[in-house]
Symmetry: C2
Subunit: 186 residues, 2 copies
């Protein structure tokens, strides 16, 4: 998956591993987190597969850099990946795994836990979406406004996801509060 994300970025134009790391942080971290070390490793694989070539550029006052350029074979692979049909609807949520087993702890501990998550959710929202990218910013990275639309869609997804998350947390807290009051009323 990461390989193809990198390939997609290289398709916008030649760039270094360092550039890719930063674009990931700025534009794709809504839905994907990539480690620097992994990006450099995947670049090696991409090169080995013949999907990109690299060229070392000597700079003065700055360290040398390696500029990667996508090949035709890389562009074909990008297209293959985009058009292959697979179901991508599966959800894999560490949070749900923990939720499933939270009956091991007390109701109060869990209310506290979910409240903490609400706060984290707010902080996350603030960091990510307080100032969502404007059309111009999308265009700054991607010259084609049509392409920028798909970027915008991913941001919208992130915002919807975060909102849904918040609702779920509040619903959990409500259910636990109710249970607590029922029990105390017995």
């Amino acid at each position: 998956m990461l390989k193809h994300g990198i390939l997609g970025l290289l398709n916008y134009g030649s760039m270094t591993g360092y550039d890719i790391v930063h674009i990931f942080k700025k534009s794709l971290s809504y839905f994907w987190q990539a480690q620097t070390s992994q990006i450099y490793r995947e670049l090696q694989t991409i090169k080995k597969n013949g999907w990109a070539t690299d060229q070392t550029v000597v700079q003065d006052g700055k360290p040398d850099k390696k500029v990667f350029t996508i090949t035709e074979s890389g562009q074909n692979e990008l297209k293959r990946w985009l058009t292959e049909d697979r179901v991508e609807l599966e959800l894999r949520s560490p949070l749900m795994m923990k939720t499933f087993f939270r009956g091991e702890l007390s109701i109060d501990e869990n209310i506290e836990y979910f409240n903490r998550l609400v706060k984290e959710n707010e902080a996350f929202d603030y960091k990510m979406y307080a100032d969502p990218p404007e059309t111009e910013q999308y265009a700054a990275l991607i010259s084609d406004p049509l392409k920028a639309l798909y970027w915008k869609m991913t941001v919208e997804y992130g915002m919807m996801y975060s909102k849904m998350h918040r609702q779920w947390l509040e619903n959990c807290i409500r259910q636990l509060e109710e249970l607590k009051h029922e029990n105390s009323g017995d």
Copy 2:
């Protein structure tokens, strides 16, 4: 993560790898998919870590089985995992990765793609949530009704997620249709 999920199940009572595979399919597949091979491998690690012991039971008419029992150390590890504090809000979505780069394809191809996902979403919903578990079913696996509440929460999450997904898809289709009509109107 899977290790701790297995540990959580073993905490409900001793069971075999085979049992665990089936409980995963029935009750945790809403938010986690585990391969049989991985479950057997994780069981080895769990045993090696001293979190569970195993005992071979000879059966007649059926193959031998290995029953795993959680140890005190395993229960401590389960509790440690449940109470550790880490942010689990990150999203990692292969679907968004593909969406981000869909500008490489035509608007019509993408409308078709999102429509296909709507259908898949419907099929998924039908399979998963047409007949959501009833309180009694929750209780059948987990004797404690309090514990069953957390199971119910994970099912609710799955349903909310699926609904949000559907809304996002429809929103994408709407935006693409609008763009298409704008362009044709020029």
